[in-house]
Each structure stands twice: as C-alpha cells, then as structure tokens.
C-alpha cells in the first residue's frame, strides 16, 4: 500500500474496469462495424459484467458485510466503491439496451434477422410456437410454487427464470408466487418460419404465451423473467485443504448457493413481485437492475455463428504460417536453426500443437512438462500429452485448479490426464500458477537438448484464434535449464534456485521490473536517453505505478499499451506528464505482455505472463522471459510501437480517467494495429511461398532430413 493513498495518484480499479467495458460497448455502438460483430461486442459487455459482479462486486460486498473500511489505493472505502459501481453499472445498462433496442435490432431487422414479438406472430408461426411449447418446453420445465414458509428454490447462477404472480386464493390474502427455472443452459432462441431472413423467438417470450398452461385453474397476474448473479469469490482455504481437488469440488458446490450479488429483472415487473424477489434473494435496491429488454445479453453471441449472413461480419483473417515454420518436417530442427516467435492469432497456433504432437511421437523425447491454466474443450494438446504418457514418456502437467471459472473443466482434465499416467500437479499452494511454459527434454546425438515454449497466452486452441498473444520457441541452453528449474520448483522437486535468464513471480518479478525502471531513471538523470514501453492487460500495482511516476518525473519517456484496467493517471504535471497510455479495442482481444527498456542502448525486450497487478506480482506464479535474438526483438519492438500508434481503434487515457479516441493526423493516414499485424503475417507467408516455389523440395526418408 502506498504511503499516500490518494485519488490524485490512482484511479479506482473498479471504475477503470467499467471504463474498459464501456470501450467494448462503444464498439457495439460504432456504426462503421459489421452488425453481427457489434452484436457480439454487446454480448461480451454482458458476460464481462457478469464476471465482474461475481468476483469484484462480490468481494466488495463481503468487505462491506465485515464492515471493513479498508481503502483502495485511490482512497475509497468498499461502501463508496459499491455506490460508485452501482451508479456506473446502472447507467451502462441503459446504454446497453439503448444500443440493442434502438440501434442493433432495427438494423438487424432490416438486414433480415428479426426477434419475433409474441403478440405479432403469423398464424403459421403461432402453430409452430404451439408445437415447440408442447414438445420442447412444457415437458422439460417444472414450475415451483413458493408456499408460505417453503424455501426459495436453489437457482443456478446466471440462469434465466420466470417469476409468476398468481391471484390470491381469496380476496384480501397476500399474492402467491411461483418460479419457472430454466436451468443452466436452455435453448434460448427458437427459429420460426419466415418468408425471408432469420426469425426467432426467445424462450421467455414463448413461455409467456402459454404460461397459463403451467398453472391450470389459477389466474396468472404476471410472468416476469429474471436472473441472478451469485458470488463466485469463494476459494479453498488451501492451508486447511489436504486434497485440493476435493476441496475445489466442494467450492464449486458452495458457489451454487452463494449470495446473490445482482438481480436482473424485466422492467415491466410489478412492485409486489420485485419486493418478493428482493426479500427472497436478500438483495437491496442497488443490486437490482431493471432491463428494458431481454435479459442476459451474452446470448446474442449465438447469432454470430449464424450461417448465411457473412456480409454482417468481419472479413475472415485466417491465421498464417510463420515464415520460420515449414509446413512439414521436424519442428525440433526448425527451432534449432532459429528461435521462433509466434504472433497470435495472426500466425498459426498449430505450430505449438504440432510440436507437442511430434514430441509425443518422438522416441527420443524423454519428458514433457507443461502448465495448463485454461485449455479448450477437445484439446489436441491434452490428447497429445495423453499419447506421450501412454508411449512411456514422463509427462508432467500442472493443471491450475484455481483458474477462475475454468475450475470444473480443469478438474475434468486433471482426472483424465491422471488416468493416462500423466503426473498431474494441481498448482502451487497459496498461489495461482499463471505462467505459460512447456519444456520438452529430448535425447540427441550430442546429448540432452531442451526445447522450450514460453507464451503470454494459454495452451488453448480456441482463444489462440481470438486473443493477441506472443509465443516464443527456443532451444537456448540457459532458457532450457531455467525452464527445468522452474518446473522443479513448482512441482516440489526442489526449492526455487537462482535462474539464469528468466525471472519469476512471486519472488522477484516486481523487484526486477522496478530495478529496470530505476535503471532508466539513473541514465536519464545522467542526461542519457531512456525509454520504457510496456504492453499489459491491466496496470494497478501501486508500487509499479509509483516507479513509473518516478521515472516520468525524472524525464523518462514511457509508452504504455494497457487494454483493460489502468489505475495510473497519465499526463499529470510533475507526476506523469511523460507517460502516455493507449488502449486498443478491436476484433481480437489484446492479451500479450511485452516489455521494453532502452537500457542505455542495449534495448532489453521481454515477454511475460504477468499483468502489473498486485495479484499477479504477489499471488501468482508468473514469468518474465528475455527475448534476445535481434530479429525477434525487433519484431516485438515493432508490435509495441504499432499498438501505440493505432489511430483507428486506439484510445488514449486522459488524466481524468476517461478515454478519447485517437484519430488520424493532418495527413489523414490511418493506422489500425491489428490490421497492420495481419497484413505483415499475410506478406510474410506470401514471401515464403514465393521462396518455396523456386526450390525443389525432395521427400526424404524419416530421420534423414537435411
């Protein structure tokens, strides 16, 4: 905690996050974007807010319940923060529905994608709807009457439900309520026959048409959709958990009945119904969000995969082959020739998948070690690890059971891998293992050779197509030795020993970063050139921010690319006037962490798994990895500079915490960072193809590659 906690120095973390979500929402309202992409951005703002409430708001509410007056670095108490969040989030909700109802839906309708209004169905549609209700809805869902004293049913987090108010049994008696819960993943959109385009009806609207059928002999006064978001900020007390796997499963159960932190309800709901829900779920007014339209905006992401509306989407940018990776042949040899930097998702992630698959099949590979933090469904990497283990190789997988919202999936992976004989470690006690690294140990004629892959992104084939990350493949002796030591440390084979090149959190990463910044300060004070560039997802660590302020005050130029939360206030005289913060929001999620220090001309460049947040630098196992060969270093520097120059999708953070869009200068030249990287990847692939067509490439017997 800094000595002078103050809003002059720091922006509030939660409000900064809400501003990030606003930037996503701004994309949804940007009329220059394809319609379905705008809808997708809107859906993302919805799911983002859910997670924000489940973790951040829930955490603050628990602090408030404990009557904690602990102030954040910006000097605000939990209560003040909750109030500010509520105000901001309510405003955001109005904006979200204005976007959906006033902008997107009319435009979608014009483009042929229509949400049906229950009262305006054609006869044919009515018949279809009747059929759907009879076959797919009525037999599946069961209303639950809430009688006096009966417990409120256990509703699943984030699921949609309908609350029904029934007429009193007799005049003068209190109203009666029932709930129709839709469970965890109902079909939310039902397609209807239409002359043109695509027309659908939402589940809750369909149920609304036939609600009486669930309550024969009763009078339904109203049927109102609602959903609740629960506290997911519960973790295993690791000091008391002998078996983390079992403990984690218990936590997942506990989350099913944790407190409600947010109640979404249709605007149309009556006062008595709302009062009933508020009292049953124990929420106050601040936690109630009345929506002007359908609940749970995240469902609209389903329309993004609708076939036949390609003109409403981005032109596809398929990932390209890295010019240093040949389409066939032994990746170990390619890595031996040169360190390979992969710029995702512009270049193919399947290079990494291929490497692990080749390792699994290679008789000379002795061992594979990997960290799985968030892995996709049907992961080819996990399948390759299982094959490797079955082939008798020593496979070690650290599966982080504490990866938020992926706990259940990771428990599944952990069990499956263990069955295949993989040595599975469930993470490090008290810390989340967030580093992304894989090391392959291979016996070669000259001796043991280690191949390493360090990355800023997870071993996840799905997000590797959507997130901008950097991966680095090398057989550098020292990086290999460091990777082995690192695995020895996190799997409990050894106490942490000194690394040669890498730096790891929680022990020394922040110290090293501060040291690098201090180095720039010293050189600047001696009148030398000094420059820091950094790209992270979030910047909220007070010590890091203060180090950056000191550097700015000393005259060091600092360019920060911070996509999400940024608690640093840039451009304040005598504090941060040399700091510029840019956030790029575009079709891919910016996720890479790249660092640059001028370092007296040595130009040190690193990739890292760590954001500059307290949790990352203190509570997580993270890595900082130097990239030393000149080509790859220059590529990373170019990525940093390109991001900062984006005048199409870039926004600059101002001293007051707001963002303003960067626009082309007088020359009118546009620079869109992600498009630029995509073009580079396309050009590099083309050059490679041209080079290949001029050389004949004979097929050779296995093991005889030249």
């Amino acid at each position: 905690m800094p000595a002078s906690a103050s809003s002059d120095l720091f922006l509030n973390r939660e409000l900064s996050w809400l501003e990030f979500n606003q930037r996503v929402l701004d994309e949804a309202t940007d009329a220059s974007l394809p319609l379905l992409e705008r809808l997708q951005f809107l859906a993302i703002t919805g799911s983002n807010l859910d997670e924000f409430f489940m973790v951040r708001v829930a955490g603050l509410q628990m602090l408030r319940q404990r009557r904690s007056a602990r102030r954040d670095p910006a000097g605000t108490t939990p209560l003040q923060q909750l109030k500010a969040i509520s105000d901001r989030a309510h405003q955001m909700m109005l904006d979200q529905y204005r976007c959906l109802l006033d902008q997107l839906e009319p435009a979608l309708s014009a483009a042929g994608i229509r949400r049906a209004v229950a009262s305006q169905l054609t006869e044919h549609q009515q018949a279809v709807v009747q059929k759907i209700f009879d076959s797919e809805v009525f037999p599946v869902y069961t209303p639950m009457a809430i009688r006096d004293g009966a417990a409120f049913p256990l509703l699943i987090n984030k699921s949609l439900n309908v609350c029904v108010r029934l007429a009193p049994a007799a005049d003068g008696e209190p109203p009666r309520f029932a709930i129709v819960p839709f469970g965890s993943s109902p079909t939310r959109m039902f397609r209807l026959p239409a002359d043109t385009g695509y027309e659908y009806i939402l589940l809750e609207d369909l149920v609304g048409l036939f609600i009486q059928r669930f309550f024969p002999g009763e009078t339904v006064l109203e049927a109102v959709p609602f959903r609740l978001v629960r506290n997911a900020d519960l973790g295993v007390r690791e000091d008391q958990a002998a078996d983390l796997l079992a403990g984690m499963e218990e936590i997942l159960d506990a989350r099913k009945q944790s407190d409600c932190v947010r109640l979404d309800v249709a605007e149309s709901c009556s006062r008595p119904l709302l009062a009933f829900l508020k009292s049953a779920l124990e929420v106050d007014n601040d936690a109630v969000y009345a929506a002007r339209g359908p609940l749970d905006l995240s469902v609209w992401s389903a329309l993004n995969s609708l076939p036949g509306f390609e003109e409403l989407k981005y032109e596809p940018w398929s990932p390209r082959a890295s010019p240093h990776v040949e389409p066939t042949g032994c990746l170990f040899e390619m890595i031996r020739r040169k360190d390979i930097l992969l710029s995702l998702p512009y270049e193919r992630f399947d290079t990494v998948v291929r490497l692990i698959e080749q390792a699994a099949a290679d008789p000379n590979v002795l061992a594979i070690k990997i960290i799985l933090y968030r892995t996709s469904r049907n992961s080819a990497i996990v399948a390759a690890l299982e094959r490797a283990s079955n082939a008798g190789k020593h496979v070690t997988a650290l599966v982080e059971l504490k990866a938020r919202f992926d706990e259940a999936r990771n428990i599944g992976w952990a069990k499956a891998l263990e069955q295949a004989g993989v040595q599975v470690v469930y993470g490090v006690r008290g810390l989340k293992t967030h580093a992304k690294v894989c090391v392959i140990i291979r016996r070669e004629p000259h001796g043991i050779q280690r191949y390493v892959h360090f990355s800023t992104g997870n071993y996840n084939e799905v997000t590797a197509k959507l997130y901008c990350d950097v991966g680095f493949l090398s057989c550098d002796e020292e990086l290999g030795a460091d990777a082995s030591s690192f695995f020895n440390a996190i799997t409990g084979y050894s106490v942490p020993l000194q690394y040669r090149k890498i730096v790891a959190a929680p022990f020394s990463l922040r110290d090293r970063l501060v040291e690098l910044i201090e180095g720039e300060i010293v050189r600047r004070e001696r009148g030398q050139r000094a420059h820091v560039m950094a790209q992270v997802n979030s910047l909220s660590d007070p010590q890091m921010i203060e180090a950056l302020y000191r550097a700015s005050a000393a005259g060091v130029r600092i360019d920060l690319n911070v996509r999400g939360i940024c608690c640093l206030r840039p451009g304040v005289p005598n504090q941060s006037e040399n700091i510029r913060v840019v956030s790029v929001l575009d079709r891919y999620l910016e996720h890479a962490r790249i660092l640059y220090f001028y370092h007296g001309g040595a130009e040190l460049v690193f990739i890292s798994s760590a954001d500059w947040m307290l949790r990352n630098l203190d509570k997580r196992v993270e890595l900082l990895v130097p990239v030393e060969d000149p080509d790859n270093r220059q590529r990373l520097i170019a990525i940093l500079k390109s991001y900062a120059r984006d005048n199409v999708k870039g926004r600059q953070l101002l001293a007051d915490g707001t963002y303003h869009r960067l626009r082309p200068g007088k020359d009118g030249r546009k620079h869109r960072h992600q498009e630029h990287l995509h073009r580079l990847a396309v050009d590099a692939e083309k050059m490679l193809e041209q080079a290949q067509t001029t050389v004949f490439r004979p097929h050779r017997a296995a093991g005889k590659e030249v």
Binding site: H394, I441, P445, H446, G447, I448, Y493, V495, P496
Partner: protein, 531 residues
Amino acid sequence: MAPDGDQSVPGQVRTPRLVAVIDIGATAVRMAIAELGEEGTFHTLETLAQAVSLGKDTFRGGSIDLATTEECVRVLQVYRQKLDEYGFTRPEQTHVVATSAVREARNRLSFLQRIYVATGFNVEPLDEAAVKRVTYLGVSPLLASEPRLAESNSLVVEVGGGSTEVLLVASGDVTFAHTFRLGSLRLRTTLEALHAPRSKVRAIMESQITRIVDQIRKHVPVDRSLVMIALGGDIRLATAELLPTWDGQSVATLSVAALRGFTEKIIVKSVDQILHRFPLAVPDAEALGPALLAYVNLARALQRDDILVSPINLRDGLIREMAAREEWTPNFTHQILRAALDFGRRFGFDESHAQHVAELSRALFRALESEHQLGPRYEVLLSVAALLHDVGHAVNSRNHERHSMYLISNGDLFGLTQNDMMLVALAARYHRYSAPKLSHEGYASLDWKDRANVVKMAAMLRVADALDRTNTQRVKNIQCQREGDRWVISVPGADDLSSEQLAVQQKSVLFHEVFGMSVVIRNAPGVLGHA
C-alpha cells in the same frame, strides 16, 4: 566451464554419459544431473535442492531423528523419479554421498540402511579426506585456468553446515589441507542447545570463529600474493546480492568491506526476517549469518581486501570424479605423492631409498598387471606404501614395520580416504616379517577383497624393497617376464647381484603364495633399458 560437448565426429556419434550426484548435507539434500564430455569435462543439466535438517539433529542431539530420516527418504524418492525421467538405469550412474551431519551421527548405520531399503541408493558417507579430494577436484580447473592463481598461493575455503574445508594451494600444489570443526549450522545449533542469551550469541560465535581462524592462520603464509577463494551456497547468495550483474557461473571478485556490511545486516536479522527476504529453506536461513561471519573474519585475519567467489560446489567435484571414473588424474596423483613425501620428510625418512622402492614397485605393478588385476588407483596406493614403508624407523628400528603402520593409519594424507590409508598402512606393515593373519588388528576389519588387495601390494612391495637391499639404488630399469612358474626380473648393467638375490629369496615367499610364481633375478645381457 561446461563445454557443450558437441564435438561429435560424423559416423562416430556417441551420446554423452549421464551421471547424477546426490549430496546429503547438513541443511539440504542436493542433486546435480550432468552429461560427461570428453577428457573429464561435464555439462550440468539440472540442479535440485530440498531442505532437510540433518545437521540440526546431529549437531544438537548427536543422532538423526526418525522424522528427518523419513524426510530424506521422501526427497530421495522424488529425486529417483527425476532420474527415471532421464532414463537412468545403472546404479553406477548415480553417486550418493553424505557429509558431516551423517558421518558424525551415532545412528548413521541405521540411517544408511533405511535409505538403502527405501530408495535403493547406496550412500557413501564422505570422510574428511574424501571431501578434501573432491573439493580439490572441483577447484583444480579453476586454479589451472586463472593465470593469476597459477602463480600465487590460493586458500580455498568452504564454510559448510558442519565443517569448514581449507585447502592451501601453492603454485598448483596442495601444501595444506584440513577440515575444521567450524560449521555454520553447527555453530547456530550449539548456541541454541546451550541456551546462549540472544545478546551474547554474536560474541560467542565470533570467539568460536576466531579460535578456528587462528588455527588456519598458523598454516597460511600471509603475503601479498595470497588469494582467498570462497566456495559455498552462503557466499554465493551474498555475492548475488552484492553484485547484481554476477551471472552465477564465473568467478566473482567480492570486496571484503562490502561482504562485511552485508553480513552485519544479516546477522542481526531473525530467521523469519531472512526467510521473508530470501527464497531460502529454514536450515539454510539459520546457517547464513554464521557462515558469512566466518568468511569475513577469516578474510580480515588474512588481511585481504577482496576475495574470489567461485560457483563451484561439492557436486562439481563429485561429477569430475565420476568423469575420471576410478582413475585419478595425473595431477591429482601428483598431489597425493607429494603429500606422501611431505609426510615421510616429517619423520626424517630415507628419501632416496623410499623413492627408489616406489619406482621399483610401480615397475612390478605394471609388469604384473594381468596377474594382480588391480585398477590404476592401487598403483598409487602401492607407491604411497613404498614411499612410507620405513617411516616407522622414526619411532624405533625394531618392529619398524608396525610403527610405520601406526604412523600411516593415524596420519592424514591429502587425497586418500581413511580406507585408502588403512590399505597403505597394512601394505607397509607387511613389507617384512609376518605375513598377514586374520588375528592382526586392522587387517581383520577389512572385507575379503581389500584383504586380498593388501596381500598383493605387500608381496610386490617386499620384492621391490629386496631389490634395493644394498640401499644404493643400483637396480634400475628392470625388465620382467613370466617363464612358466617363475617370475624373471632382468637387471641391466649390474655385475654382482648376489645380495639382491639373497634378499629376494628371503622376501619373495609371500609373492610365491599370492601369484604362484617364484622370483628369479638375473643379469640382463648387455646394457638395456633406456626406457
């Protein structure tokens, strides 16, 4: 230091040999896995360490607690998994040693047995001589590669958890080597056991250290050219802190003033504070302050302004030893023989006779190779026995062979283990008179293999000694060959060999018994033997 070993000739691809050494120390069990290259070079692949508090147990209560033993078992089982990962299959690929904490424990035998039963590792408790040998093997490439060290006196010091190793190397030769009972953890534990008041701890530590430092100083000529080379994990940690740019792999120069400042900061910190500041295990954190204090005090006593810090450790020496297999390097053999000569000189031995008998012994040893089947290190042991067979004269000429045995077996020769010294002592003991008997002290305690080896060496030594019966060193350049059941020694350039022949007749009975051949001496025709 570690070449990548990539010197493979096409068609002659040979995968480097993988070895591992595990060192069960006072504060930790450590392992290094390495690939052996050409000519004794090696390349460390991985190092692992896990904290155990063996030193605490032994130095406080005299024996190792059951719980600590099981902790060692657990660590070694984990290390075993690591070895499986690299495909280790043969037991000789792994060398497991233990240092003072195990060596001094009263229950070391049950400890070693439990380790063997649970893990299959056969732990060798290193005696002091072995630690010295291994330390020397570790630092010798450094001494050879740094020109400034080749010329000067180097004092190599490692303050360990249980003891402090000191080697004085002058122009490449070991002139003094000793193990002092000054250990960082031993200091800390002893003070705790005595319930020394906190305020006094520092003063008591200093006085203990000063006592040992004074002893060391007696053996070390303090002049400008003296270089102090510090080894050990504690000094490495201090160096990494004081010299942030140190790569941890080369030799660093550390100012004693800076080290002193750092030590002052550490010594006042509680163990908890140290743990908070450094990623150390508890026993290492406890040992840090006392160890640094010992280095500082020694450096100041020797009036050094700076010291060299080498990243070399015990495991480097052990790997180097495995790289050389069972053979000692020529330089190392030279150091052993030098130490033997120094030992003999202390007792005023007849140096020319001793040297000559040693030379004749070596000639016999090489000629008889197919008969005795002994490895090359026995040639060194036989040479030492030959050099020292008569040192007992210093006590009394009567029964001097017994006095020789007594002096050698109680002596301390650089590079030789206690077991080696016993073999040498017995070979000297049996250079005359009685043949070995199972009732003889020392001999009886050997296993049957070692007993046979002693007899073989004594038989050769007796013949060599007989060949210099006249003490004139006139029998040289001998040629040997087997003729049926006779072992014929041809001596070039001698006219009258009657006294030697008589002596050999008397002294070759044991030889006949052992090798099944009688020994015959004859004049070689003409002048032979400019070897």
